[in-house]
Amino acid sequence: MFRKILIANRGEIAVRIMRTCKEMGIAAVAVHSEADRSALHVQTADEAIFIGGSEPRESYLNIEKIIGAARACGAEAIHPGYGFLAENGAFAERCEAERFRFIGPPAAVIRSLGDKTTARTLMLNSAVPVIPGMTETEENPDNLAGQAREIGYPVLLKAAAGGGGKGMRVVSDPEKLKDAFDEATSEAQNAFGNGALYLEKYLERPRHVEIQILADAHGHIVHLCERECSLQRRHQKIIEESPSPALSRALREAMGEAAVNAARAAGYVNAGTVEFLLDAQGRFYFLEVNTRLQVEHPVTEMVTGIDLVREQIRIAAGEPLSWRQEEIQPRGHAIECRIYAEDPERGFIPSPGEILYLKEPAGPGIRVDSGIYSGFTVPTAYDPILSKLIVHAGDRPGAIERMVRALSEYVVLGVRTPVEFLLEVIRSDPFRSGETHTRLIDERFAGWKPSMSRADLACLAYAASRLSPRKAVPSGTGSERDHFPSPWETLGGWSL
């Protein structure tokens, strides 16, 4: 086993990886930028190395600086976390060339799965369902009609040179295909100078369901069931759960098997995630493989009891998987809410700044993976994720109630967060009934405003602080502090 690992990341994920390193008796080395001199991951590490400016390309994205740090501290392996260099084939290759073990899949696997068409072809050849569609463009609308019938309506007309929704039309009615073709082709011609179109199956309100897999270097592959990640805003996940309310046992097994096949086809080693879109009829289609630890990995850890980071490290060290497929039995239900520094009232724009006060929820079945503390200034240079709140309970209704309680306890002052927005989503009927799909937040919660239901109480709290002496706690000597009474012993001292 490794004695020292360098974590080439920052924030909550770096802290989370270091925690497992500590439990395994492995020294964890942090790297940090100018903006992160006093970041939590620097405080948590056994050793911290400054690697450069706040701009990611000067530090966390800088391969030379990270390799230099790994050499300087004598690390044997590098964990890339998620984001930054986690899915960069060149980085993985460089690590191996420099004789640092990269904690992730081989560089060649990262490369082939990173290319969408290569991945799609790979899956097509290994009996993994892929979204039906054409592989070549068509200029004659009459020929297109035949293709559309074959794929099945509704279909999505897409510009070959497309982007930004231009030259794109959803067609549900065969009669309207010709008109849609004419519109889309002229739009594409104007936008890209190329009117060529192709067809793909259009999925209405699909669910986003992904399968966690683990593969060792000895050819064993298992899946750790699914995560449902349908709730997204700005095309980014915000609430995830496991198991998915949409999966039957049979569907879970079928998707798990498809994911294992996909991993085998790709020659996968280490932890990975196979993402699928699931339609209302229970048909699933391969989307992509994420060749790294996912942000939402804790929900899988909660229901399976498996520490994914520990497994990643063990696999990288060449150890075999600890379980066979039939030994992996999920228990209960887990939900994760991502806490970003962002303003849900203003289209979720980032809200960096100083955390004036932080109080995290606690109690049974609660886990907080956090990268912040009271007094920390959230830098503008990075992704605005502050923490992840994960709950685990015996069943889904229990997990929902637990999440409501945990969110109600969560206090972050000084930057905007979506805590109240998340409370409303978690409490909503569509969420409670498990009717989650990728368009739900946009359709049901557009233009969200806080309820202001405790505005009067906020006024009263303000008045209390205004009318009280500035310093509430007596700043006495040590011996006086020892005898500082609990609030309940001082009930007689309630302010008058």
């Binding site: 009263l460 303000y462 706690v473």
Partner: protein
């Protein structure tokens, strides 16, 4: 005692007076009456007793704004005129609308106008980047760019004036 408050920019009128019995205060907010007692727990936490109901509130203040969290809901409370030392935008609302300022701390990545340019309402002027997200600041009205205060690469804060626009003749009459 009377406090005119802004709670999430909404006006609230709060009056508070000690009860004659000495057993706490009575507070009125926009016509609603509460009996209030409180106990400070530490610098940021307060235990309120509102009509006999215990309420835990967390508070933290910065530059005239007090952040208050109760049961997962966060409020920004301001007391206009309470603290004259706090930084304020100079000039009236008229003046303010001639300036372009960022909504969040950010870095300037592109400047799309030059001093002396005539710009139309809604025209893109400055592109900012914060936390991997780009935001484009646009002209609030038609006019001439009088002064650009920043350069590409600069770190800017809300309230900081990045660019000033002299309104076009017809706009001045319109406002």
């Amino acid at each position: 005692m009377e406090f005119p408050l802004l709670v999430n920019k909404e006006q609230k009128s709060l009056t508070i007076a000690p009860l004659p019995s000495g057993e706490g205060h009575t507070a009125r907010i926009d016509g609603r009456e509460y009996r209030l007692r409180w106990l400070p727990i530490n610098d940021n936490e307060w235990l309120l007793d509102v009509d006999g109901r215990p309420i835990r509130a967390c508070l933290a203040a910065r530059e005239g704004e007090t952040w208050i969290s109760i049961d997962g809901e966060t409020y920004l409370v301001e007391e206009p005129g309470a603290d004259d030392r706090r930084p304020r935008r100079r000039g009236g609302p008229d003046d303010q609308s001639r300036q372009v300022t960022p909504p969040m701390p950010a870095a300037v990545i592109r400047i799309l106008a030059a001093e002396g340019d005539l710009v139309n309402r809604g025209q893109s002027l400055i592109v900012l980047s914060a936390m991997k997200m780009e935001t484009t600041l646009t002209a609030p009205y038609r006019g001439t760019v009088k002064k650009i205060h920043v350069a590409v690469g600069a770190q800017v804060m809300p309230g900081e004036i990045l660019l000033e626009i002299e309104p076009a003749e017809e706009e001045q009459h319109g406002v």
